[in-house]
């Protein structure tokens, strides 16, 4: 509720600032403002323009308000900036006719410039923060909403299959080799004697382990993998149950039709 009000208020201030600035420019055109113009015309034009710019930036700042912990600093900077710029404009209006000389000009210009800098810097900072937050929220939403159990199951299956089976990086093109024309006469030993082989004791237990690893039956101390495995096994169990139900229904139907 508070943020809605702040947004409403901010947009109002922004629009007011914009109208004031446009009004100031229109007024300057209307009175043909120049260096030698009447001081009241100069004060009115630059006063409105200055206040208009401050209001515009203040409005933007209000619309892009941040929550804590940055919100507190942001609001502080925003109010300081706004006050500095308004003080700058006010001082200009008061001193232009009587005391518009050094060092007053420097003080007034510094106050206004620092106020505008604070407001625009704060607006930029808020915009960047908002952008980062939105992206992370988007990612979170994507992760939460768009991946179903089936998607995860497919992904795991694909990854495991890719790693083991045909290998995705190998080309599917099959090279056929023509019978070579180089005619070699095989030597006596090559023709007659069998290839020497050595036999070594080895139970190759790894075959079983590899089968388990590929089927996701290996226990690992990794929460994400354990969770995925559980989800996979639950899905598979559900599917088997559904299939069994269908089969039993079919059998019942067949029996009924036979009785009839």
């Amino acid at each position: 509720m508070e943020s809605k009000f702040r947004y409403y208020f901010g947009s109002m201030v922004f629009l007011s600032g914009l109208i004031l600035s446009i009004g100031a420019i229109a007024f300057a055109i209307m009175v043909h403002l120049r260096r030698t113009s009447d001081p009241s015309e100069i004060i009115t034009t630059y006063g409105f323009l200055g206040v208009g710019l401050s209001f515009t930036l203040f409005g933007i700042n209000l619309m892009m308000s941040q929550r804590r912990p940055y919100g507190l600093y942001s609001s502080g900077v925003m109010i300081t900036g706004f006050l500095f710029s308004i003080i700058g404009v006010g001082s200009f209006a008061m001193t232009y006719t009587s005391n518009w000389v050094y060092p007053t000009v420097s003080y007034v210009s510094f106050a206004y410039a620092s106020g505008i800098c604070l407001l625009s810097g704060n607006a930029f900072g808020n915009a960047v923060l908002k952008l980062i937050e939105e992206r992370s929220v988007q990612l979170h939403e994507n992760a939460a909403c768009h991946y179903t159990t089936e998607d995860i199951e497919k992904e795991v299956e694909e990854t495991l299959n890719k790693s083991f089976s045909d290998g995705s990086r190998f080309s599917a093109f099959n090279l056929d080799i023509k019978e070579d024309e180089t005619v070699f006469v095989h030597g006596k030993t090559l023709k007659e004697s069998p290839q020497d082989r050595i036999e070594i004791k080895d139970s190759i237990r790894e075959v079983e382990s590899l089968q388990s690893a590929i089927n996701g039956k290996v226990k690992v101390n990794d929460y994400a993998i354990d969770l995925t495995t559980k989800m996979l096994s639950a899905t598979m169990k559900q599917q088997t149950e559904e299939q069994n139900k269908k089969m039993s229904n079919k059998l019942k139907m067949k029996l009924n039709s036979m009785r009839r």
Binding site: F164, S171, F173, N174, F184, L190, R197, E199, V207, S209
Partner: protein, 350 residues
């Protein structure tokens, strides 16, 4: 019965399940030597039971004997493969590899028997493309009548050596032409790459530094070299130790670089080293030392040591073929389960 085939630059090894709890390995050197043909030479080769082929006036001595003859006659050996892939410089590379593959693989017991063939991953330090090699080797095995599947050499090492760690870890195959590395998590590769340096690179560097022929350096490296010993200044062993260390440092530097590009899971990664070029005595000690100094961006639990004896399937040279066999048997089992499930269903419906 399913088979595993390791097509390496130096050796082509086939692994298959033997009788009972055993594995049978068939191994041939991936090399040949050209000699002039003649009745005398042929008789001598036949009586010595040496594998050879003849074409016109040339005899090609195959396998291990080619190395022996090369040292005796001081003739350069011909290699069908270079830097882990089929050599583009060798005209007769494909017929020779075909011959060796046919010999070690043998005929399938049934049509469509599964075979897993190890192939290198894409190298990070060379423009070499491994696709042509992979597809050619696959086609050669297919011609014999097998149902072929390709597997990364590094992943084969993971399958063979890291079963106790749920196939999580780093598999490194230090071969003759290339070094293949795969970082896997639960049998799933996270990173797979190769380096175009291996045992041959060491031999070449030592040969050019000391002036000793390449073949002799290879022979010394395989029979008379070990780390952790004092070397004479200017000795071949000293140069070998130096370049071995340079290779290990290079492998680890590339592994670190690759690991920095990915985000591996926060688990312990054991390292398994295999391949013919890792057989040198003391290799793993140096490797372990360099790994501990490297400060890798993952948690390395240990460098796994093989029971490195020659009559053991855990010999690093057999590791890749064994990994391929494990993959093939697993695939065969997986295919057998649905078939077995279908049978009772058919019986019920009947």
């Amino acid at each position: 019965m399913a088979k595993g085939l390791d097509v390496g630059t130096m050796n082509i090894i086939c692994a298959e399940k033997g009788k009972g709890d055993s594995i049978t390995f068939a191994q041939q050197r991936n090399a040949f030597l050209k000699m002039e043909a003649g009745d005398l030479a042929q008789n001598m080769l036949d009586s010595a039971k040496i594998l050879y082929t003849q074409k016109d006036e040339t005899i090609n001595v195959l396998g291990e004997d080619a190395f022996k003859f090369s040292n005796v006659f001081n003739k350069p050996i011909r290699r069908p493969m270079k830097q882990g892939i089929i050599s583009p410089d060798e005209k007769e590379s494909i017929p020779m590899i075909k011959l060796i593959i046919e010999r070690v693989l043998g005929k399938p017991e049934k049509e469509g028997e599964i075979v897993y063939i190890s192939v290198p991953a894409s190298p990070v330090d060379s423009k070499v493309n491994v696709l042509y090699h992979s597809k050619t080797v696959e086609a050669l095995a297919k011609r014999v009548g097998y149902q072929t599947n390709l597997i990364d050499e590094g992943l084969a090492v993971v399958f063979s050596e890291l079963g106790d760690f749920n196939f999580t870890g780093i598999g490194i195959s230090v071969g003759a032409g290339m070094t293949n590395i795969t970082v896997a998590y639960l049998a799933t590769p996270i990173v797979s790459f190769s380096i175009a340096r291996g045992g041959d690179w060491i031999d070449e560097q030592v040969s050019s530094a000391t002036g000793v022929p390449n073949e002799r350096v290879t022979a010394i490296k395989e029979t008379d070299f070990s780390f952790n010993s004092d070397y004479e200044i200017g000795s071949i062993q000293g140069a070998l130790a130096l370049y071995y260390d340079a290779l290990i440092t290079y492998i680890i530097a590339n592994l670190k670089k690759k690991l920095l590009e990915v985000a591996p899971p926060d688990v312990e990664f054991p390292i398994a080293v295999a391949g013919g070029s890792s057989r040198a005595r003391g290799f793993l000690d140096v490797f372990e030392k360099r790994i501990s100094e490297a400060n890798l961006p993952i948690n390395v639990s240990k460098v796994k040591r093989n029971r490195s004896t020659t009559a053991d399937s855990k010999d690093p040279i057999y590791s890749i073929a064994r990994g391929c066999l494990i993959a093939a048997l697993t695939r065969e089992d997986a295919e057998a389960v649905p078939a077995a499930e279908e049978k009772p269903q058919k019986a019920v419906t009947a």
